[in-house]
């Protein structure tokens, strides 16, 4: 059976990179004695795949990976066993059974993600940014400067910003997160700061990923559903 795990990565765990997080869970699965399936070949490896990589420095309460089990196990037991062997800051939130097959692979399903952005102490935007946010997001285009290994270009990220709202002192973002249109929250915040004419200091924001979604709708009419909701708990 194929199982989807949702986990949180909090506190000091934000310093653990994506590859190390994968290695961490491989070891955790062995410690928890979960009957995971192995690939064929001379050096068999665990059959598992992670949804959306999380950058170093970002915390999350909506991380996902899928794993193939060689034997069925109640989903509640999987959660209990894994949580019995977690490091502080890594928490398994749920396990659900999902459909087998490539089409339901966590990584290819990812369409969007929610983020909560807070300012580090003393690094808040200075001007009347809260009033100006509406003007900023209602522009026909939101252009940011994007520097990659291969090129430097200005791109319009407006189609990839699904939500940009103020919640008290925090900012709520819902951004595109598929591999083709993955949009970083820092990029959106830096673009906004630039538009405001603020020279932003490094390490200004703390970003927390809250949830990762699949899209049950289409380009024009998104219907975001959490990756977790695509499966079900089993006894």
């Amino acid at each position: 059976m194929k199982v989807r795990i949702k986990f949180a990565k909090l506190g000091a765990m934000k310093f653990i990179g994506h590859l190390d997080t994968m290695r961490y869970f491989q070891k955790a699965i062995r410690r928890a004695d979960i009957p995971i399936a192995y690939s064929e070949g001379f050096s068999p490896h665990m059959i598992m795949s992670f949804a959306a990589p999380l950058g170093v420095g970002t915390t999350s309460s909506g991380e996902y990976f899928d794993m193939q089990l060689a034997q069925d196990m109640p989903t509640r037991e999987i959660v209990e066993r894994l949580n019995g062997t977690m490091a502080e800051g890594m928490d398994v939130l749920s396990a659900v059974r999902v459909e087998d097959g490539k089409a339901s692979k966590a990584m290819s399903l990812v369409a969007a993600a929610d983020y909560r952005v807070t300012f580090r102490e003393g690094k808040e935007f200075t001007s009347d940014w809260k009033e100006k946010l509406k003007e900023y997001i209602s522009q026909p285009q939101i252009c940011v400067f994007k520097k990659t290994k291969r090129s430097e270009k200005t791109v319009d990220i407006k189609p990839y910003i699904y939500q940009f709202a103020i919640q008290g002192d925090k900012i709520h973002l819902q951004l595109a997160a598929a591999s083709s249109n993955y949009t970083k929250p820092e990029q959106v915040m830096d673009g906004f700061a630039q538009w405001l004419g603020i020279e932003q200091k490094p390490f200004s924001y703390m970003v927390h990923r809250q949830e990762v979604y699949a899209d049950n709708g289409n380009e024009e009419n998104h219907q975001f559903v959490t990756l977790e909701s695509l499966g079900e708990e089993v006894e």
Binding site: I16, A28, S43, V56, G57
Partner: protein
């Protein structure tokens, strides 16, 4: 959640922040108010290296078994964080509590190789602890050193309050109890050190004084007061099977150099190679019972989740129940995606059979360590490996599908001649020819690939070669050139790759290995001038050390180029390492006359380790 010692800005700026956050699975958290003793265990190199070390993992879990002790860990900050800590005046902290090391009761430093000596000073310095024990008041931790380099502690003597000579499992409890009792009695640090000096295996450098002859050699070495023992006797675990072995290991978040379960199958080595310090100081050879090892393997894989298990010991092939153990591990773990790694196996039919089961033959290589190029020189060093054994092993391996061979040698061994050096090239050539003779063309998996590596020999204390002279940098490089040119002159030279170790690091290692207390000034001066991470080629700077020798007036050549007389008082003679000086002298003479000495299982040579009444020394009598 634990509060980290470093803020986010620093952690996001430096390389591998996970080195400094602690919190790893199986690391131990305790209530600091509920313990009597806080011990910080240090491996003075970068986290990934330090976390690969088994000794610390053993002692860490052993200490933490005690309710009154909280043992934590610290490793050397890498150069990027080092600069930030100095600039921002951040004191070095232990990983678990993230609290300053300077507030601990003990700082224990394992000293595994000479080239980490400046890193030891970095640890003290960043911890804001004065470098010299004589400058440290009551408020600072007791700094204690142990490990193989503690067998000649003199170059580091002024920096430590105590050294532990031998295996840590034995008398640490007594030491910790003594510390507690002294504190309850409101005793001073000096009171504690005096009491500690009475514990077998504990050396308190401040209670000893040395004098020198005019020619620079040691004239005397003795305790400064009555009641302090003249000799420090090495401590060993007699019963390995029932000695403490952790049920769990700390699992790093980032990939350590050795990211796996290590299973220690035995301690010591029966072989008696005359250059090898480990082969002498870990005597007698003591095996662990195979049933106990199976139990440890199961427990540790489950507790850590590691995907690899590695057997560790000197000369694993000499472990008498190896076949049973290895077959068990393969049956138990192979299907669960756990790899089995077997370093230091002698290549024979059994080894090839096992290796074909646990590794991909096409990717793996065979390793031989003949150490010397000619049979004559192999007899001098007592390496009982013959050319025929090597060629037979290679032949069987080639037929089994292997085509990569690694060969390890040393240059600069006592009595070495040009023929011995050239012998290295000739042996590599013979192995290459063996491949083309043995494997028919259609079955060849490409060319044979032979890698020859040479290091330069460093004489070490407590070996029969402890009196031997080393060579100058130019002479060492000249030797490597002889080998290189001879390899180039071989028919199959295109199948042979040659690389050699740097000569300058070797010379420094030789100085630190056999130095006396005067060496401490050189180490401190080099450190003050910026020497750090000397074991890493990218951070090693020979010029800094040369400046330090010049400034302190210490003559490097006196320590490295001079052959010692067997009558000379050596800086480490006050340590009783089990093997007697008489035995070492005898072995030194036999080496010069090219006489082999049988291994411990064949015949006892009366080295002196028999008085521990354990392991191979009592095997035949059971």
């Amino acid at each position: 959640m634990r509060k980290l010692a470093l803020n986010d800005e620093i952690l996001l700026e430096i390389e591998s922040p996970a080195r400094y956050i602690g919190g790893e699975v199986n690391s131990v958290m305790k209530d600091k108010a509920a313990v009597d003793i806080r011990f910080c265990m240090c491996f003075p190199d970068v986290y990934e290296i330090g976390m690969s070390h088994l000794g610390i993992q053993i002692l860490y879990h052993l200490f933490n078994q005690r309710e009154d002790v909280w043992c934590e860990r610290v490793y050397s900050p890498w150069t990027d964080l080092d600069a930030i800590m100095r600039k921002e005046n951040i004191p070095l902290f232990a990983l678990e509590s993230q609290e300053p090391v300077k507030n601990f009761d003990f700082l224990g430093i394992t000293i595994q190789y000479e080239m980490c000596y400046t890193n030891i000073l970095q640890i003290l310095d960043l911890a804001q602890i004065p470098l010299r024990a004589s400058q440290r008041g009551e408020e600072f931790p007791i700094v204690i050193g142990g490990g193989p380099c503690a067998y000649n502690p003199e170059p580091l003597a002024p920096f430590f309050d105590l050294f532990y000579i031998g295996e840590g499992e034995t008398v640490y409890d007594q030491l910790l109890d003594t510390y507690k009792a002294n504190r309850q009695a409101h005793g001073t640090k000096a009171d504690f050190l005096r009491k500690a000096a009475q514990i077998p295996g504990i050396y308190v450098p401040s209670l000893y004084k040395e004098t020198y002859n005019e020619n620079g050699t040691l004239a005397s070495f003795s305790p400064i007061e009555e009641g302090v023992p003249e000799k420090i006797q090495k401590q060993v675990v007699v019963d390995m099977t029932h000695s403490f072995y952790p049920k769990t290991l700390v699992v790093p978040f980032i990939k350590a150099t050795q990211d796996r379960v290590t299973l220690e199958i035995q301690r010591g080595c029966i072989r008696g190679c005359r250059f090898c310090q480990a082969g002498m100081i870990y005597r007698p050879t003591r095996e662990k019972d195979v049933e106990r090892l199976k139990e440890c393997a199961r427990e540790l894989i489950l507790a850590t989740g590691h995907e690899e298990i590695s057997l560790t010991s000197l000369s694993s092939s000499d472990y008498s129940q190896l076949e049973e153990l290895v077959n068990y591990l393969i049956d138990e773990f192979k299907s669960r995606g756990v790899n089995i790694s077997l370093p230091s196996l002698r290549i024979d039919a059994f080894a090839l059979d096992v290796m074909s089961k646990v590794q991909d033959i096409r990717k793996s290589s065979l390793t031989f360590a003949p150490e010397a190029g000619s049979q004559r020189l192999r007899d001098v060093i007592n390496k009982g490996l013959t050319e025929e054994t090597i060629l037979q092993g290679a032949r069987d391996a080639f037929l089994g599908g292997w085509n990569k061979v690694k060969l390890y040698f040393m240059l600069g061994l006592p009595t070495e001649t040009e023929d011995d050096m050239k012998g290295i090239a000739h042996l590599a050539e013979k192995i290459a020819m063996e491949y083309y003779d043995t494997v028919p063309k259609e079955k060849r998996n490409g060319k044979v690939q032979i890698t020859v590596s040479t290091s330069f020999f460093v004489p070490k204390p407590f070996t029969p070669f402890q009196w031997a002279a080393m060579y100058s940098k130019e002479d060492f490089l000249g030797k490597a050139k002889v080998v290189k040119e001879e390899i180039r002159a071989q028919l199959n030279q295109k199948s042979i790759r040659y690389n050699w170790h740097e000569a300058d690091v070797t010379i420094l290692e030789g100085f630190l290995a056999r130095g006396d207390r005067k060496a401490a000034d050189v180490i401190e001066t080099a450190y003050r001038k910026g020497a750090l991470y000397d074991a890493w080629s990218e951070t090693f700077h020979w010029e800094i050390w040369m400046d330090a020798f010049k400034e302190t007036g210490v003559d490097l050549d006196f320590y490295t180029l001079r052959e010692r007389s067997t009558d000379e008082l050596l800086p480490w003679d006050f340590i009783d390492a089990g093997v007697t000086k008489e035995f070492l002298k005898k072995e030194w003479k036999r080496a010069i006359s090219e006489e082999m000495t049988p291994n411990c299982r064949m015949k006892c040579s009366g080295c002196g380790a028999g008085r521990y009444k354990g392991g191979v020394c009592v095997e035949s009598k059971n």
